[in-house]
Amino acid sequence: MDFAVIVLLEMLRAVAWLVLLGAGLAIVFGMMRVINIAHGEFLMLGGYTVIMSTKVGVPLWVAILILAPLVVGIFGVIVERLIIRFLYGRILDSLLATWGLSLLMIGGVTMIFGNTNEGVSTPLGSVPVGQYTISLYTIALIVAAVAILAGIYAALKFTRAGLIARSVMQNPGMAQALGVNATFVYMATFGIGAAVTGLAGGLLAPVTGVVPAMGVNFIGQAFITVITGGASVVAGTFSAATALGSVSQAVTFAAGPVYGDAALLFVALILLRILPQGITGRIFTRSV
């Protein structure tokens, strides 16, 4: 019984992990069709924001929930103005440019903070479940993942800004003809995607620690989740994270983490062979 609870929680944690990694990317890629290879470095920047600000005395939760999204969001807007806005519709070029950005960020952070592993102790402690213990922060991560998805859903579905954003993504010309400032909407959407990524990076930082090249460890999982999910932000991310997270976690239990990663890729390849447009390209097509 206790073991079953632990396994279930670990599965949920794996799913939540993929949701956190993928949510910001799903906004930028799923809605705007901009492939941001520097996504992993946006996570890294969020992580560094948390670690560095707690070092100067900012309370951990303020750093995670406010500073990380703010810093990365502003950074995202700057990047959009300087690089991304020239590359809308040129998907491959945006891929190459953001890869350059990714290398630039790794190098820049290495120059500023040095190539060392920094960390902060995981908050909240742990509770016993029978003979096992689980970290309460794990549960906080799961809650955060649910909250992020719910927040994106609500914002897109029930607010005027969300409606405008969806209209611009669907038909920028028509939206502009109706008086919407499409340039601003693109900039804001990219900024919000970056902010969500920053929040995720901040949340992950106490678990993973930070190091300049850490993005590489996440970028693969993030992209696989978003691509397997397909075009819709919330339903796609959620369904793909559930499918891939549970399989990879099951394999991890059975054979070890490296095989878990490999299994994740393999399942994604098979899924893409069957559903080239992603899960929401065929199922749940009308969802947000």
Partner: protein
Amino acid sequence: MEKSLYKDPGFWAMIALGLVATFGLPVWYGLFEIMQITQYVVLGVFALSLAYIWGFGGILSFGQSAFFGLGGYVFAVAAINMGDTTVPLILSFAIPALFGAGLGYFMFYGRLSDVYLGVVTLVVTLIFWKLINHTAGPEYAIGAARLGGFNGIPSIPILNVPGDADADLMPGAMFQVFMVILMVVYVGLRLINASDFGRVSVSIRENETRASLLGYDVRRHKVVVFALGSGIAGLAGAMWATYQTFIDPNAFSLEMSAKALIWVMAGGVGTLAGPLVAVIALQWLSLKLGEINLINNFVILGTILILLVLVLPKGLLPSLQMWIERLVTMMRRQRDGEQVMRVRPDPALAPRRDDRGASPTPAE
């Protein structure tokens, strides 16, 4: 064989340049310089592999280093077990090519779009990198070769005379052998591109739907192109391994893939000579900048990549070509313009325009 290739002066110029380099450089330069130039030759082969699949097959692979690393490791393991290096060199082409064909099956028969293709290749590279980093323990060994995880495989045999495992090549001879490999790859790719097969792959690059409507099997074609490119990248990996007598998981790194992309982009997508020039220019540049040791290498690479995309999206060689052509037209126009000033145009010779707008327009 294709006549157009034999009439191309650039083709013969490249061969002549290659022959001069093969026999001239070891005479003109000392051992140390030759060792450094050998590095450019190896990376040149690697650049050609991506230049081919991207420029002539329209396949943008972000995981070229997966095959580079795979080739290097295959060579290392096989050479340590066999002693002789001829068969391992062949294997280092064949196994990555087979793996490329298998991966290509999933990607091209799944009809993944360009974007997904880029990401899948990227992720495959990451998985390789992770897997090989985890093989540090002594239980991960193939025959006599321990994979060594993040420590890499040391003391990989130097290339030897075929059949005689003890006759290691001297650095000068190794440079010449590598130059021959580079030239064979270059000439081979030029021949392929001039053949019917190459023309079909270019047509697929230009318009996939049209090519498939004309009856060509786009998917199979792409798998073959991708597998060939993978094999060449694997060969470059093997050359890298034997050149350094060492290989570690960095061969699989994203930096390696990024460099290949930068070379091809800088040299110009759709050319083979351009990327070779870019390899020499950019490697030399990053060597010089690395000596200064002021700026992180990643910062330099990243900045170059961003600037290339924003300023020179077509690459150096095609951009240069375009500018020269523009300059020539401008000068010609100026000259013609003066003539028009002097001689009054005959109204009977002017192009007629009727109200249906049938004036000759530059068609695509």
